[in-house]
């Protein structure tokens, strides 16, 4: 049976048909027909954010936590441009986000109309695909195609730009159309030519290796290859390194887990890479923050690279064996092909690289102690969403993750302001779980307006603010590499406890480690959102550190002479 429907109504129906339940958005002129139709579709829960960037980050957080498409909506012009940072973050970290933007009416396009912007042009390099819908007849098919493109193969964001007059256009609407645009060529995971050959070559390399390592990245989380990776490690005794986005893909505290590599990786992790003779990289892209200077990265290692995206093989580091396919499928095949073995001497060798870090804290308020209190309060069962900077590295290195995909952060783009809105999305994907958004005092102030969203929409996000009065990571670089000239990094904060109260949220301030357990416990058990500010050492540093462009073999382990903190 068919009926006359407007483009806006078709848009809502197509989202419902696509299984969408939550939309993060902000209304405005060019998207008003959509908002007019929305109340007729109660299955679509709309979360009114305070800035469109937060809508994109929240949709990203929702997508990462659920594995489903996260949807954000904005109007044309400033609404659309405010989405850009969130889409770039989703693009860099392969998160399936669908953004829907209003556009000025078709006859006005290209005339510099009020709130007109070429959002298609602006988002070309940060989307997998984007569409300007030229006619209402295309709309349902475009939405179905966008939902599929976002999740298939290597996931990523997609944008649909819908002119206002297309939203108002009426057509006879029948059964939901299948993907109308058939030209998309999904990347097929699994059997690529030479796959079995690659797996057997890899198995032979592993059998002959004396110092092998497994490095796992986000691809393992996206493919949910946890059991396979763990089985591979346990069958072969090969130690496992988790990149920033691979954290929680392998249980922290497992005897084979070494930790995070790269710029802020522990000394023994980076030394292991530099001494390895075979590296099995699964679902990572050997990003520069992982490799340091690629010319001196893992000089003795032959690299086996498993990735869904053929373009990643050999992009950043030369590989001995490249296998294109889904991390779970390939790891399973590799598991079947390898012989059981042990690596005790190699593990002993790596244990010899372990160093204790030299750091200073006040009031005993070390990052370890703060994170331990969050772990205790949540009984080790919460999702941690981090922002970007020093706290992000402390969390990555020190939080004892036990559950797969319980660590969410903006890795590739490194977008400050990510944590608070992304945590809202995580809550909606995991409503029965606890979510902590951990930020610094810089990143928190970028999107703290979202506390109003949490109150209005009933999103019980727990917020931790590591307050050192500085843009700490930049200050650390200034201390190490810019003669301690703290240019524009001291940052003033409001009274966060009073600020929380102004939003009707319980706020707490912790100055000493003795207050941690009780305060964090109270915040954790609040039925709604809560904020805890931790007054940490102003000039605390993240050690060790590989200087930008430096070799993994040459970490900075203490503040350089003449650049020590007071």
């Amino acid at each position: 049976m068919s009926e006359m429907l407007s483009g806006a109504e078709i848009l809502c129906r197509a989202l419902v048909d696509g299984g969408v339940e939550v939309i993060f958005g902000y209304p405005g002129g060019a998207i008003m027909p959509f908002y007019h139709a929305l109340p007729d579709h109660p299955r679509l829960r709309h979360i009114l954010v305070r800035h469109e960037q937060a809508a994109a980050h929240a949709a990203d957080g929702y997508a990462r936590a659920s594995g489903r498409v996260g949807v954000c909506v904005a109007t044309s012009g400033p609404g659309a441009t405010n989405l850009v940072t969130g889409l770039a973050a989703a693009h860099m970290d392969n998160s399936p986000v669908v953004a829907i933007t209003g556009q000025v009416s078709r006859p006005m396009i290209g005339r510099d109309a009020f709130q007109e912007t070429d959002i298609i042009g602006i988002t070309l390099p940060i989307t997998k695909k984007n569409y300007l819908v030229q006619d209402v007849t295309e709309l349902a098919g475009v939405v179905a195609d966008a939902m599929a493109v976002a999740v298939e193969g290597r996931p990523g964001p997609v944008l649909i730009d819908v002119p206002k007059d297309v939203q108002n256009q009426k057509i006879e609407y029948g059964a939901p159309q299948a993907r109308a645009r058939g030209q998309s060529r999904p990347q097929t995971p699994g059997a690529s030519p030479g796959l079995e050959d690659g797996v057997h070559k890899a198995a032979r390399l592993i059998a002959g290796a004396e110092r092998p390592l497994i490095m796992v990245g986000h691809g393992v989380i996206l493919a949910q290859a946890y059991a396979e990776v763990r089985a591979l490690a346990e069958k072969t005794g090969i130690p496992v390194i988790t990149t920033l986005l691979g954290i929680s893909a392998f249980p922290d505290g497992h005897p084979l887990h070494l930790g995070m590599p790269g710029m802020h990786g522990e000394v023994h992790v980076n030394r292991a890479i530099q001494h390895a003779d075979v590296i099995i990289g699964i679902g990572l892209r050997f990003d520069d923050r992982v490799t340091g200077n690629t010319a001196s990265f893992a000089p003795q290692a032959r690299i086996i690279h498993i990735d869904l995206d053929r373009a990643e093989i050999g992009k950043n580091v030369p590989v001995a064996v490249g296998i294109v396919g889904d991390a779970r499928d390939i790891t399973r095949r590799l598991l079947a092909a390898v012989e059981p073995r042990r690596c005790e001497r190699w593990l002993e060798h790596i244990r010899g690289f372990v160093r204790t870090r030299a750091e200073s804290y006040r009031g005993g308020l070390s990052p370890e102690a703060i994170l331990a209190s969050i772990y205790e309060a949540s009984h080790g069962d919460c999702t941690i969403v981090t922002d970007v900077g020093q706290h992000q590295m402390w969390v990555a290195k020190l939080y004892p993750y036990q559950h797969p995909n319980s660590h969410i952060t903006s890795g590739g783009l490194g977008a400050m302001g990510f944590a608070v809105p992304a945590a809202m999305g995580v809550h909606l994907a995991r409503p029965s779980g606890t979510v902590w958004a951990i930020s610094g005092d810089g990143g928190f102030q970028m999107n703290m307006a979202e506390m109003a969203t949490m109150v209005q929409e009933g999103l019980p996000v727990k917020m931790a603010v590591f307050n050192n009065g500085y843009l700490g990571m930049v200050r650390q670089w200034q201390q190490f590499f810019h003669e301690k000239r703290y240019s524009c990094t001291p940052i003033w904060s409001p009274d966060y406890v009073k600020l929380a109260e102004a939003y009707g949220i319980p706020g707490y301030r912790v100055k000493d480690a003795s207050e941690l357990a009780e305060t964090v416990g109270q915040a954790n058990t609040q039925p709604g959102p809560a904020l805890v500010e931790f007054m940490i050492e102003q000039e605390a540093n993240v050690f060790p550190m590989i200087p930008p462009g430096g070799s993994l073999s040459e970490p900075i382990e203490t503040a350089p002479a003449g650049a020590t903190g007071d």
């Binding site: 070309l124 053929r310 373009a311």
Partner: protein
């Protein structure tokens, strides 16, 4: 995209893709964002309805040419990618 090796030669890459402005725009964007050292660029109808052929010449070693081809291969709207690797065909393709 890594810097081309010291002994580059000309490679011609032919990309068959949807004849849609947004797809072409995206393809040119890949050349720019991946810092591809192109020397020539041509766009023609491929002969198949709704399909264009984008041909470009880059001076790079075979591995770099392959990496560039892979970036196009995964682009939405791209139907096939070919590398034609010799000076003669390069001359033909840029004419």
């Amino acid at each position: 995209m890594p810097v081309p090796s010291p002994s580059p030669s000309a490679h011609t890459v032919a990309v068959l893709l949807d004849d849609a402005l947004v797809t072409l725009n995206r393809a040119f964007g890949v050349l720019r964002t991946r810092n591809v050292p192109i020397e020539g660029l041509a766009l023609h109808p491929s002969g198949t309805a709704g399909e264009s052929r984008l041909t470009f010449v880059l001076k790079a070693d075979a591995a770099t040419a392959d990496r560039v081809a892979q970036q196009f291969h995964k682009m939405m709207g791209v139907r096939s990618v070919m590398i034609l690797a010799n000076e003669d065909s390069t001359t033909e393709a840029t004419r």
